[in-house]
């Protein structure tokens, strides 16, 4: 196959959640359905549908959209964690995702051991991890805690270690999900510095954020998503402007459609006087 001119090539992507299964199915429910041959139509939810976009090498794409638009699902699909139910996702190069940081730590083992464990999950060779671990430990900057069980870490320390591991290897394609504000002031400065380095080195970047100024600063293109579909695609400035106007428009329409102010709440019901429980009866009364 000839090398793709695109770093990321998403065609007609659809990701479908089965509402039956996400509800934490029990065997009983499934058996009842199976026996009753109930139709399962309409029990699916398309988190993404007919999503098309391509990112050329050297581009940086921002993804905007309200909560529930499918932005995070899209990142999971780009990272290869969710398989497409429709269409295709083609990534050319090593993908690294900075999704929820540090959530995968093993609590009972030390930070140092976690570095190697997560490195193994990420598919990084042990030899490479041996070389990288000193710089990871140094970057996390959690001192002697590195040899203590992760269970004893503060949430900030966990986030720092998670960030240090996730950014240890510079990927070709970088997926970022709201990670630009981790830890205290000092660490945030260093982490933004490192993100900037990775951005400079990566062949392509996909960035999901609610911070509109980040998009105009980091990206050279942006898309606006809503309800699992791409609504707008353009320069960051245009997309941000379009998004802002859409939000304004929605607010105005909501204000117009708002009903009369709610009637005052009814006075609280008078509490019934406390009932006095009879003393507990003893089963075996001592013979007197």
């Amino acid at each position: 196959m000839p090398p793709s001119p695109y770093a990321v090539d998403v065609r007609d992507l659809g990701i479908r959640y089965n509402l039956n299964l996400t509800r934490r199915t029990t065997l009983k429910g499934s058996l009842a359905e199976w026996v009753g041959r109930k139709q399962q139509v309409g029990r699916h939810f398309w988190a993404l549908r007919h999503v098309n976009f391509r990112i050329e090498h050297g581009e940086s794409l921002g993804i905007l959209g309200p909560n529930g638009a499918g932005k995070s699902t899209l990142l999971l699909a780009l990272a290869g964690i969710l398989a497409p139910d429709e269409g295709s996702v083609t990534m050319s190069g090593r993908v690294s995702s900075l999704l929820t940081l540090g959530a995968g730590f093993e609590m009972e083992i030390s930070g140092r051991e976690n570095i190697f464990l997560i490195g193994g999950f990420m598919g990084i060779r042990h030899r490479v991890m041996l070389e990288l671990s000193p710089s990871i430990i140094e970057f996390a900057g959690i001192g002697a805690f590195i040899d203590a069980p992760v269970r004893t870490y503060s949430s900030g320390m966990r986030a720092r270690l998670g960030f240090a591991i996730a950014t240890a290897i510079a990927p070709d394609i970088l997926l970022l999900d709201e990670v630009l504000g981790t830890g205290d002031e000092e660490f945030r400065g260093r982490s933004q510095q490192r993100i900037r380095e990775m951005v400079a080195r990566a062949k392509a970047i996909v960035l999901v954020t609610h911070d509109l100024s980040t998009v105009t600063e980091f990206c050279n293109r942006a898309i606006l998503m809503e309800l699992g579909q791409v609504l707008f695609e353009g320069s960051p400035q245009d997309t941000v402007e379009f998004y802002r106007e859409r939000v304004q428009e929605r607010k105005r329409r909501l204000a117009e459609a708002a009903p009369e102010p709610l009637a005052p709440a009814p006075p609280p019901a008078v509490l019934s006087p406390p009932t006095v429980l009879p003393p507990p009866a003893l089963l075996d009364q001592p013979a007197s």
Partner: protein, 300 residues
């Protein structure tokens, strides 16, 4: 308001399906194709395990450290645990049921130790995927390493437990025999069987959490239907002996007891049959697992 929309790249809506419709393909080929596809899935499963050896190693280490973290005697529990259960069953069998078994502690220990390996490994493997939902939603990796690591960790614990079996021979030196050296062979058969069930149940448990609950009771019933606190020969002629004949653990536990208690060779023929069936089950389990694997991230 912007006067126009800016589509940088024209959207591609419908990607034509590369495969011909099912009806267009010749019939025999379709079947063959499907079968080859399954074989590919199973081999990919084995490749997953082989190429992620180092990850497996880290996971096993984590499992072992986690089990007895923060205990006073720490890893000594690997020796103490089997002793306690052996003592409990010894009292149950000899005092409560009034059965006179020569050297009862050794008789029981030879079967209970491997059984506990099976039970804990299977339970750990079953919950191994559901217990790492966070990670599965974060990193893409072959999930097959999770049940495999639980089973391997259980196996190491079993081999530590063999040290306490060795200590027991201080009391019964007359029962020592060279056949004890075949324990790794019996353990290998049991390992394949345990791994196969663990992989299957871990995949099913992701979709139906009932599996882990059912399993608790099922293993319990299974224990009493296996010749652990009695000998298979005790039930010769009874209707129950047919149940025993179908139970792979009848052959596994009897083999352990042969080498550890009776100074006899293990039942090699039966073990070979169990191994063959376990390998078939393993291939089936890996196939099921690989089929369901892509859905894990969605429902965890």
């Amino acid at each position: 308001m912007l006067p126009f929309r800016l589509p940088m790249i024209p959207p591609v809506r419908a990607v034509p399906d590369a495969r011909p419709a099912a009806a267009d393909r010749p019939l025999g080929f379709r079947e063959l194709f499907r079968r080859l596809d399954s074989v590919r899935l199973v081999t990919r499963g084995f490749v997953d395990l082989r190429t992620r050896g180092r990850l497996l190693q880290h996971l096993v280490g984590t499992d072992l450290k986690r089990t007895h973290a923060d205990t006073v005697v720490g890893q000594l529990w690997w020796l103490i645990d089997p002793f306690f259960s052996m003592a409990i069953y010894s009292i149950l069998v000899t005092v409560v049921f009034q059965r006179s078994i020569a050297d009862a502690p050794l008789f029981l220990f030879a079967a209970i130790l491997p059984w506990q390996w099976f039970q804990t490994s299977l339970q750990d493997a079953t919950t191994s995927v559901t217990g790492r939902g966070n990670l599965i939603r974060q990193i893409q990796f072959p999930k097959l390493v999770l049940p495999a690591a639980s089973t391997v960790a259980g196996t190491l614990t079993f081999f530590f437990g063999l040290l306490s079996l060795a200590l027991l021979y201080l009391l019964y030196p007359g029962r020592l025999s060279l056949w004890l050296l075949t324990i790794p062979v019996i353990a290998a058969v049991q390992f394949v069987f345990t791994l196969a069930l663990g992989i299957l149940f871990s995949a099913l448990n992701t979709f139906y959490r009932d599996v882990q609950n059912l399993l608790r009771h099922a293993t319990r019933i299974w224990f009493y239907m296996s010749p652990a606190i009695y000998a298979a020969s005790d039930l010769k002629g009874s209707a129950f002996s047919y149940v025993l004949a179908l139970n792979p653990f009848t052959y596994i536990l009897t083999s352990y007891r042969n080498v550890a208690y009776y100074n006899r060779p293990p039942d090699f023929v039966a073990l070979a049959v169990v191994l063959a069936l376990s390998l078939v089950l393993l291939a089936f389990s890996i196939w099921v697992f690989k089929r369901l694997e892509t859905g894990f991230a969605k429902i965890l």
